[in-house]
């Protein structure tokens, strides 16, 4: 079996799964739908492994293949095929996406068990995986845009999955519209590429680009900036990030899969994929890197003040993607992707653990209400801790190696990039701080009411069904969210998925230990050989120096969190009071929502109101009514027009036409 066949199979299996579940929703039992969905993704993972083995059997230089099924839209000089492009980068993404997705499907199998929308959920989830694979396998810009938009739609559909909640439908709309703005950026970039290079195919574009574009030229810079609009919208980078926290309205497995592990990292993939262009446009690359840096710091400060468990983790996701964007923009391609992979593991795990806790809390997400879960749910707590350690870059966990590899590169590249490394370390301090703020507030201490209920009775607490976002009573006859909740302690599929991810979160970093092994970079580097930036390699000594600093910062952050939220519980309130303006800024999310509302939403609605209430009535209708009134002024003619003229004209036309037709028939014979 050739490598392209493996890739096509991996792509089509999730689509098939989605279709089978969607079309069979009346006949398939819920269990079967879940099994079909999970198996489809599991098989796709097998295909991805097949593709990897195939690729490893080839020369490192020859590891890229284009394959197409049929002409998709080829006319007038545009030549768009339904084609895929398989190389180290896409196979890497293929493995990460299918691997993590399989586990999250497994988790969902347990987590969503009592939900009435089970079929719909798995159908959408499979469709999402199909879209994501299309995104990473696409062989040209048009198909990339298709995958790009499909994941956006899947994200929308799953955010507003519980569609009786108005908060969920609103959040879905927001995510969709912002993502469409991103799509437009990509479309315009594609047009510009076509104008300059006359093709949309990846292979040709990247081969021609260095010949056609001059380094730093304005055209290639414009292309890259437009690509960045797409990347920022999808990867929730400032200022296109406001949809991500709201996206937490979706069921927790969705947050785990789409809004943490896979889709939101598409921007990182895009920059890595088009690194040839970004190398030619250093200004755009620097803008991307600075945006990543700004996002990682700003999101870190917001995560520090969020009291909603899932939203806090969402801001953390934004912040971590900031690292990746910064990495791939400054030339640390493989390093950025390394962090993408480890982040997929530990962040998916964190969301799974959070979901388990939220289930135990009867869907409440407010950490102010949570405490003492260490005693109530040992396994979930352990997993939360494992995910948290990896996120906080605790020494020897996966996040420790991946994050520091980016910062070490930045430091070695020197100049202003040194400052990025410093900013990154500052972000790492924030990360450790906000991560362990969550952990120290949720796990230790006296069990809260819900946790105590679980300890006492061994059963989950079930309060009235309330939408946690707006305290609205849920619609009881709908059946979603499901009536009963599921936690990892009571559901084998959930526990297995979490345990496997926990293993990855702890040990995945060991494939890339400086001076010891070079598995991942050795595999990925040839894909970036056409960019001179990939030749910068920090020495082993520099890497370990960076790792030591990283370890110190991580431990410092965790220790500080311990002081603030365990040892001196009164201190945070005191700090809040002392640093009032700063706290207000953070807790109001730096006022991005308000600014967008003021600058874009309100003006658009005002224009709309003006158009429909004033312009349409007085200008458009006025033209006709004016004429009519003039006619009416002439006296009585309107009646003639209304009753006689038009009708007679119509009849006359019919009669005339019939007569002419008759004439034709007679004269033709």
């Amino acid at each position: 079996v050739s490598i392209s066949t493996w890739a096509w199979l991996a792509l089509l299996l999730p689509l098939l799964g989605s279709l089978v579940i969607a079309l069979g929703f009346r006949v398939l039992p819920a269990r079967v739908a879940g099994i079909v969905g999970t198996a489809a993704i599991g098989l796709a993972f097998v295909c991805a492994v097949g593709a990897l083995l195939n690729l490893l059997g080839e020369d490192a230089e020859a590891r890229h293949h284009a394959s197409s099924l049929w002409d998709y839209a080829s006319a007038a000089g545009l030549d768009v095929k339904l084609g895929i492009y398989v190389d180290q980068l896409s196979v890497f993404m293929l493995l990460v996406v299918t691997g993590v997705s399989t586990l999250i499907h497994l988790y969902s199998f347990g987590y969503m068990r009592s939900d009435e929308g089970y079929h719909r959920f798995f159908s959408y989830l499979n469709f999402f995986v199909f879209s994501m694979l299309l995104l990473v396998l696409a062989g040209n810009f048009v198909l990339l845009i298709v995958g790009w938009a499909f994941v956006g739609f899947a994200s929308y559909a799953l955010i507003s999955f519980w569609y009786r909640r108005t908060t969920a439908t609103k959040a879905g709309m927001k995510a969709f519209v912002i993502n469409v703005v991103g799509d437009i950026g990509l479309v315009l970039a594609a047009f510009l590429i076509f104008r300059e290079l006359g093709t949309f195919e990846f292979g040709e574009v990247f081969a021609k680009a260095p010949e056609v574009f001059t380094q730093g030229g304005w055209t290639v810079t414009a292309i890259c900036l437009l690509l960045l609009v797409g990347a920022f919208a999808k990867s929730a980078q400032i200022p296109f990030h406001t949809w991500l926290p709201d996206a937490m309205e979706g069921p927790t497995p969705v947050s785990s899969l789409i809004h943490a592990a896979t889709m939101v990292t598409a921007g990182v993939y895009l920059i890595a994929r088009t690194h040839v262009l970004f190398y030619l446009a250093p200004t755009a690359a620097d803008i991307a890197a600075f945006t990543g840096l700004a996002t990682l710091l700003i999101a870190g400060t917001i995560a520090l003040t969020m009291t909603d468990l899932k939203r806090a983790i969402a801001y953390s996701t934004m912040s971590q993607i900031g690292y990746m964007i910064m990495g791939v923009s400054i030339g640390a391609y493989a390093q950025g992707l390394f962090h993408l992979m480890t982040h997929a593991f530990f962040k998916a795990l964190l969301f799974m653990a959070a979901g388990s806790i939220i289930s135990a809390m009867a869907n409440r997400q407010d950490i102010d209400r949570m405490s003492g879960f260490w005693r109530a749910m040992r396994f979930t707590s352990l997993m939360l801790l494992v995910g948290g350690l990896a996120l906080a870059a605790f020494p020897l966990t996966s996040g420790f190696f991946s994050k520091d590899s980016i910062l070490a590169y930045a430091e070695v590249r020197g100049g202003m990039y040194t400052w990025m490394a410093i900013g990154g370390y500052l972000g790492a301090l924030l990360t450790a701080l906000y991560t362990f703020r969550l952990i120290f507030r949720v796990l230790p201490g006296r069990p809260c009411e819900e946790a105590q209920h679980l300890i006492d009775t061994g059963e989950l607490y079930h309060g009235p069904a309330i939408n946690p976002a707006n305290e609205e009573l849920e619609d009881p006859d709908v059946g979603f969210p499901g009536a009963t909740h599921n936690v990892a302690e009571g559901s084998r599929p959930m526990a297995v998925a979490m345990a496997l991810l926990g293993f990855g979160a702890l040990f995945a970093g060991l494939i890339q230990v400086p001076g010891v092994d070079n598995v991942l970079f050795g595999f990925l580097d040839p894909a970036f050989a056409d960019s001179p930036l990939s030749e910068i390699h920090p020495s082993v000594g520099a890497e370990w120096r960076g790792l030591t600093i990283g370890a110190a910062i991580s431990l410092l952050g965790i220790g500080l969190a311990w002081v603030l939220w365990v040892a001196r519980p009164g201190l945070p309130a005191l700090l809040r009071a002392r640093l009032r303006p700063l706290y207000e800024l953070f807790v109001n999310k730096w006022y991005f929502d308000e600014a967008i509302d003021l600058l874009i939403v309100r003006p658009a609605l005002a224009i709309g109101r003006f158009a429909s209430s004033t312009f349409e009535r007085f200008v458009v209708d006025g033209l006709v009514n004016g004429t009519k009134e003039t006619v009416a002024g002439a006296g009585g003619i309107v009646r003639v027009v209304q009753s006689g003229f038009v009708r007679s004209y119509a009849l006359l036309l019919i009669a005339g036409f019939a007569g002419l037709a008759l004439y034709f028939l007679l004269s033709a014979s």
């Binding site: 998709y72 439908t169 519209v177 006709v624």
Partner: protein, 498 residues
């Protein structure tokens, strides 16, 4: 073949008059089905590089140089198919429901089909004008007599009157323009209305300038374009929904088609000269239509104004005066027809379930109607030109053409895409999601309506996988159509001065 395509609906319409009341609807649907069969056969035998084919050319009124001349080429082959598909859908949907005076209703329905097909296949300018005007007649009766009077608004006949006044003025201008073109072109010799002949030797630039606008007025009103759309809101609210489905799906396209068939080849110099003016109108239609679509609460008007915006895209594609833009325009005409017709059928279903056509009185209907919700979702995504749909390919081609020709216009036009995402999704969410208001009785789509809706949705899905089906067959004809203005645009090669 082409004759049977054209006259089959009319034959069924007339023969239906003698049938009993209950059978007439089915007879009409059968007629539409037979027409569809012929249209499919025409497509099957179509040669993408064969130019004008399946022609019929008979002298009709020799003294006036008018021929009964029909033909199929890349410009109209899919529009003919679209007409046949949508008419079958609309007729069947109407046949499932009781109609007052069914004999007349279905007579008018099928007469409308013949007239529309005639406008698409006519290759003689006067014949085209004649069919173009004839289209108006059945719809006048259908809107006026079977439409709904609006409380506190105009009656159905008043609304229809407004539409007729608008379109009639356009049509009369076009008639004058057509006659003038033939007479000026003949220059005292033998008059010919053949479009091919007239395109061979366009009239002088000075004459082109005013005749261009006579034709453009008729087409822009039909679409309708910004500022000429005054008839649309009232007429759309009055029209019976199955009729509106075919009206909005097909008739608006005749206007866009007219630009490609008549205006570009016959008035190339004026086309080049007024390119930016028409583009500006198109952009205004996109922006205005979109803005209106997201402020309306009447579901019909959301569909109506979104059509204004979509037709704006199509016009912009044509007036990019590049093959890719025009290819996209033809593709998009088919796409938009395939999307807007099911949309209005769904609107009818939603109105039946909620007893209202106001968004504010709808909601939560997806719960008990998953199949309807799924079909509606696909239509919605195609409406907003989701990448992956054929609509996206159409818009991509259109905007690419515009981008390469007039980059500033492209940047403005593309903002319409973001707005379309909002208004289309808003329509879907407000009807299918959120809480269920009082008075909404959600129930699943029944088999009969499913039989109408599902095939249309399947067409959308099928085209999404293979838009090349259309692009491959239209490209040649489109290239010919845009060739004249392209040559005219070259400095110093003004056609009229040869």
């Amino acid at each position: 073949m082409i004759n049977s395509l054209l006259w089959t609906p009319l034959i069924f319409a007339l023969s239906g008059l003698v049938l009993p009341k209950r059978a007439v609807g089915w007879w009409a649907a059968a007629g539409a089905a037979v027409t569809l069969g012929i249209a499919i056969a025409l497509l099957a035998g179509f040669d993408p590089s064969g130019g004008l084919q399946d022609t019929v050319d008979v002298e009709w009124i020799p003294g006036l140089g008018v021929d009964y001349s029909l033909g199929i080429d890349g410009l109209n082959v899919f529009l003919v198919l679209l007409t046949a598909v949508l008419w079958l859908g609309g007729t069947a949907f109407a046949a499932f429901r009781e109609q007052e005076r069914p004999h007349l209703f279905f007579l008018m329905m099928l007469l409308g089909e013949t007239a529309t097909l005639g406008a698409f296949v006519a290759q003689d300018l006067l014949l085209f004008v004649l069919f173009f005007d004839l289209m108006l007649v059945p719809f006048y009766f259908l809107f006026g007599a079977w439409g709904t009077d609006r409380e506190g608004g105009p009656t159905a006949s008043a609304a229809t009157l407004k539409m007729i006044v608008y379109t009639l003025i356009g049509s009369l201008l076009m008639l004058v323009g057509a006659i003038a073109t033939a007479i000026i072109a003949a220059d005292g010799g033998q008059i010919s209305f053949s479009i091919a002949d007239l395109a061979q030797d366009p009239v002088a630039e000075g004459s082109q300038r005013w005749i261009f606008w006579f034709f453009a007025a008729a087409f822009l009103v039909k679409m309708p374009a910004f500022l000429l759309h005054g008839w649309m809101p009232d007429a759309y609210r009055a029209a019976p929904l199955p009729v509106l489905a075919v009206f909005s799906g097909v008739l608006a396209k005749v206007g866009a088609y007219g630009f490609l068939r008549v205006v570009l080849p016959l008035f190339p110099d004026a086309t080049v000269q007024f390119q930016e003016v028409v583009l500006a109108i198109a952009l205004a239609s996109i922006l205005y239509g979109s803005v209106m679509a997201f402020t309306q609460t009447n579901v019909r008007l959301i569909g109506g104004y979104s059509s204004v915006a979509q037709l704006g895209f199509i016009t912009a594609g044509i007036f990019a005066l590049r093959a890719d833009g025009a290819d996209g325009a033809v593709l998009q005409m088919v796409n938009h027809g395939l999307v807007v017709a099911p949309l209005f059928i769904i609107v009818a279903l939603l109105a039946e379930r909620s007893g209202s056509e106001d968004l504010r009185e709808m909601g939560g209907m997806a719960m008990r109607a998953p199949v309807l919700a799924a079909l509606f979702l696909i239509v919605t995504l195609a409406t907003l030109a989701m990448p992956g749909s054929a609509n996206f390919v159409g818009e991509f081609y259109i905007l690419n053409g515009l981008f390469q020709a007039k980059i500033v216009f492209a940047f403005v036009a593309i903002s319409g895409i973001a707005m379309s995402a909002y208004y289309a999704l808003r329509l879907y969410q407000r009807t299918m999601h959120n809480r269920v208001p009082e008075g909404v009785a959600s129930r699943e789509i029944d088999l009969r309506d499913g039989l109408v809706l599902a095939p249309l949705v399947l067409c959308i899905v099928g085209l999404a996988f293979y838009p090349q089906l259309i692009l491959k067959r239209t490209d040649d004809a489109v290239q010919t159509s845009v060739a004249a203005p392209t040559r005219a645009a070259e400095p110093g090669v003004r056609f009229a001065e040869r």
